[in-house]
């Protein structure tokens, strides 16, 4: 009936309207362009930046070793921090008051003191506890070792970063766990799962959607916070740059080298986070976000803009 009538009339032509003009946007673009040009001119012409020196040290052995140390510290501290944080979060939610209080105290202490103080603390740890041993509490030891040989600079850096990270991660994981609907736990319990199984198979995978974005933030912060380790003399990226500029006084070019590497690493992290979020988002939305490659392919195939 009505549809028949409309069909015989055919489809009206597509709307082609003249868009609204935005003159002030063009003014803004022009102003920004001038500032950018001035900035680039300064970068290129300022002799203090000394680009040849930057190029000389960008891939130098000592810098690359520093980059590797930064990556190693970030990955290890994050891995330990995530495990500690998850344990602390599950402990925080335990019905046992002693267990949850211990987790609370842990978070309270490590979030309540500056990271730099914690780093220095672990560095000088051996000066007040000289020996570590395993044995009967207050009784004989089976094994003991000098703290200095056990806690090297690297270990103290790792301890400081990961214990601090664990405290922050525990709050992130806890928020994630609390975000999962209680009906999920009930359904899983009704199927005969134990509390651990419910956590591992049902609650945590769903909590991940809430946990991943802030964790990406944490990895980013961690990568940059490793620079604090330079204060205790471990040759990560910043310390490596310092070693060089302390010798040749080319401070600015070497800081540019460090900035270049930090930016490169944080950018790589952003890409990684996109794919992880996409993975844990499955099932939570009707359609999965497209990867950049898929977007480009669609764009080429359809020749149209993809939202």
């Amino acid at each position: 009936m009505t549809s028949d009538v409309e069909l015989t009339k055919g489809r009206p032509e597509n709307i082609r309207a003249v868009p609204v003009r935005h003159p002030w946007r063009w003014v803004a673009v022009a102003v920004i362009a001038v500032f950018v040009a001035m900035f680039i001119h300064m970068l290129v012409s300022n002799p203090n930046l000394n680009w040849p020196i930057v190029r000389q040290y960008l891939f130098s052995h000592i810098i690359l070793r520093g980059v590797w140390m930064t990556i190693k510290l970030t990955i290890l501290s994050m891995a330990i921090g995530i495990v500690l944080g998850t344990i602390a979060a599950v402990m925080r939610l335990s019905p046992n008051p002693v267990v949850s209080t211990v987790a609370w105290l842990y978070v309270w202490f490590f979030r309540g003191t500056p990271l730099l103080v914690q780093i220095i603390f672990w560095f000088v740890f051996s000066t007040f506890i000289r020996e570590l041993s395993i044995g009967v509490p207050f009784g004989p030891h089976f094994w003991s070792k000098d703290t200095n040989s056990l806690i090297t600079i690297f270990v103290s850096a790792l301890l400081a970063l990961s214990l601090n990270e664990g405290a922050y991660m525990s709050e992130i994981v806890r928020a994630g766990i609390l975000s999962v609907d209680e009906g999920q736990t009930e359904a899983a319990q009704a199927l005969g799962m134990t509390r651990l199984q419910v956590m591992r198979r049902v609650v945590l995978p769903q909590a991940m959607r809430v946990i991943v974005p802030p964790t990406g933030n944490e990895v980013n912060s961690m990568l940059k916070n490793t620079s604090l380790i330079s204060t205790i003399g471990l040759a990560e990226l910043l310390r490596s740059a310092q070693i060089i500029y302390n010798a040749n006084y080319k401070t600015i070019p070497l800081l540019i080298v460090a900035i270049f590497w930090y930016l490169l690493m944080t950018s790589a992290l952003q890409v990684g986070q996109f794919y992880i979020e996409r993975y844990y988002g499955r099932g939570s939305t009707r359609t999965v976000a497209l990867t950049p490659l898929q977007r480009i392919r669609l764009l080429v195939l359809r020749g149209s803009h993809v939202q």
């Binding site: 999920q184 009930e186 899983a188 009704a190 199927l191 005969g192 134990t194």
Partner: protein, 250 residues
């Protein structure tokens, strides 16, 4: 199958079950009717120990739920034992509670594989059979979000059945569904009842209760007001409260 004796349950000072006596024999289909807040759902959840009762005795298959009685003393059962007993009782929820990060098939095979440790191929074959039985053979790979409410609820029924339960509990399985989707779910439940499954169904679907139930139990204010075959309780209620309720929902 289920033997409840003077069940009392309170949340804080609020007593929601005030002495429920209730028996279900194997193969029986029981529908629990009553206004919201009458304690039907709470009672259902007590049966698989999702809620702890405060007084009375509740037996499933001859065994006390949640406790061990020895020499006049009650001992709480460990989490593991409670979990193992739950594997024999299937439960279907008002809001489906499918696991959103798993496909329909994943939802069904999860518990038989992980909890019972049954061989994967066998469970998968059974899961496909169950999906076909609830009319969703082509939805094995769909995530819950991609299914309609009625389809989700049928997957949830298949998930519960995959554990080969002796008893099925339904907690208002059609209350969250659009009216045109209710029929598919009720049809699945009707088939299940015909196959001889013992079922306890909390529902507002009077028509379903009249047609499928062997026994209808009307609850109000935490007590059983009356119970009996649907021909008596629904068609010829004796108590004023039952009459009032039925006149409101019919």
């Amino acid at each position: 199958m289920v033997d409840a004796q003077a069940i009392h349950k309170n949340f804080g000072a609020n007593e929601v079950l005030k002495g429920i006596d209730f028996q279900v024999v194997p193969g029986q289909v029981v529908c629990l009717l009553g206004p919201s807040g009458s304690g039907k759902s709470t009672f259902l959840r007590c049966i698989n120990h999702l809620e702890k009762i405060n007084a009375g005795r509740l037996y499933v298959d001859g065994e006390l739920v949640g406790y061990l009685e020895n020499g006049g003393k009650l001992y709480e059962l460990s989490e593991k034992v409670v979990a193992r007993k739950r594997t024999e009782i299937g439960m279907v929820f008002q809001h489906f509670n499918l696991f959103p990060h798993m496909t329909a098939l994943g939802n069904i095979v999860e518990a038989p594989c992980r909890v019972k440790g049954e061989p994967k191929e066998e469970v998968h074959a059974r899961a496909h059979d169950l999906l076909a039985k609830v009319g969703l053979a082509d939805k094995a790979k769909a995530y819950p979000r991609q299914l309609s409410g009625g389809q989700q609820q049928r997957v949830a029924i298949a998930r519960a059945l995959a554990m080969r339960p002796k008893l099925m509990l339904f907690d208002e399985p059609t209350s969250a569904l659009d009216p045109e989707l209710v029929g598919d779910v009720l049809a699945v439940m009707r088939d299940l009842a015909k196959s001889g499954m013992t079922m306890i169904v909390v529902t507002h679907e009077i028509g379903f209760a009249r047609e499928v139930a062997d026994t209808v139990v009307f609850m109000d204010g935490g007590v059983v007001v009356e119970s009996g075959p649907p021909s008596e309780v629904i068609s010829n209620p004796q108590h004023q409260r039952t009459k009032t309720f039925l006149s409101q929902v019919l």
